[in-house]
Symmetry: C2
Subunit: 200 residues, 2 copies
Amino acid sequence: MRRSAAQTRLHILDAAYALFWRQGFLRVSMDEIATRAGITKRALYQHFTSKDALMAATLACSSELALKHLKQFHLPVTTGHELIESYFTQLRDWANKPKYSGGGFTRAAIELADLRGHPARAIARKHKSAVEKWLADELAAAGIPAADHRAQEVMLLTEGAMALMLIHGDPGWANSAARAAKRLLQTSPTFGPRRQLSAR
Amino acid sequence: MRRSAAQTRLHILDAAYALFWRQGFLRVSMDEIATRAGITKRALYQHFTSKDALMAATLACSSELALKHLKQFHLPVTTGHELIESYFTQLRDWANKPKYSGGGFTRAAIELADLRGHPARAIARKHKSAVEKWLADELAAAGIPAADHRAQEVMLLTEGAMALMLIHGDPGWANSAARAAKRLLQTSPTFGPRRQLSAR
């Protein structure tokens, strides 16, 4: 039975995701992706005109799934502390897998650091903003004041924990991040607008 | 006048650093490094037997310089707040350059996420531990209690700010990190050992 074009597309995205996730975006070739997807390179290019396009599509698909997952994670959380605890526990468990390679969106931004206009960069940026927004909404729902400031801080601690868990191979950094986030929920900022931008 | 071997070595490290910094470790070839250093590929391999060895040497050299810079940064700081302010101001100014590409050590860890035994990974780990130790010593000297816990939190906020400044192209994240760090200095942890490691 022949697969539909849509099925093939999903199949390619799945193969690309697995390879990109493990080896990063730069080291994986279209040849390897075609091989893993069990199709010819010609067929692969019928679906995605370039590796850049495939990277962007893979990240967009991954963002959609991750945000869906986060939204399902709207569990019977009653306090900000419980939310923070569950959130960082999930982060730690995710990073505690033997093949943990850091966050895919952050990785895309770093691997493409000199290519600001790359479509994958825009998707990474958009994804991080969506997570920040989700955090702000959840923290506000839990009655935390200045929830958008607190969400920024949780984002900082999340990115920090993702990097340090990878660098040191130690998922305990997620626990340190959770404890810091809880203390930050208890304190109020003493000054300053949302973010003071330096003169640019 | 012929350059000494030591001079050539430094010249190569300088060329490699500039290329790695801008394009990451994976995309730069030994050919490009030889061209930039103005030597033959054969001469390059006489100094560094592989690109992996050159990466490790470049990071080791960079770590030495960065730590020296940090130690010079032992300015007439009197309070923890002043230390945090100066530290994150430097971070923000560094990231505010047009070609900011994130942190080199973190980038090495991410680009080589699946190669845990790579010598560059060990250097990245060692470097981050040295920065954490420096922070703990400075915070302790400023009279901050539980300085080693606070140093861990500043590390989390540092890594988070470096990633988010790159992702969003917005150095204002360093200001958010500085404000969070100052609030964390004011609060005491309520529980927990240094880091609670998950069962592994």
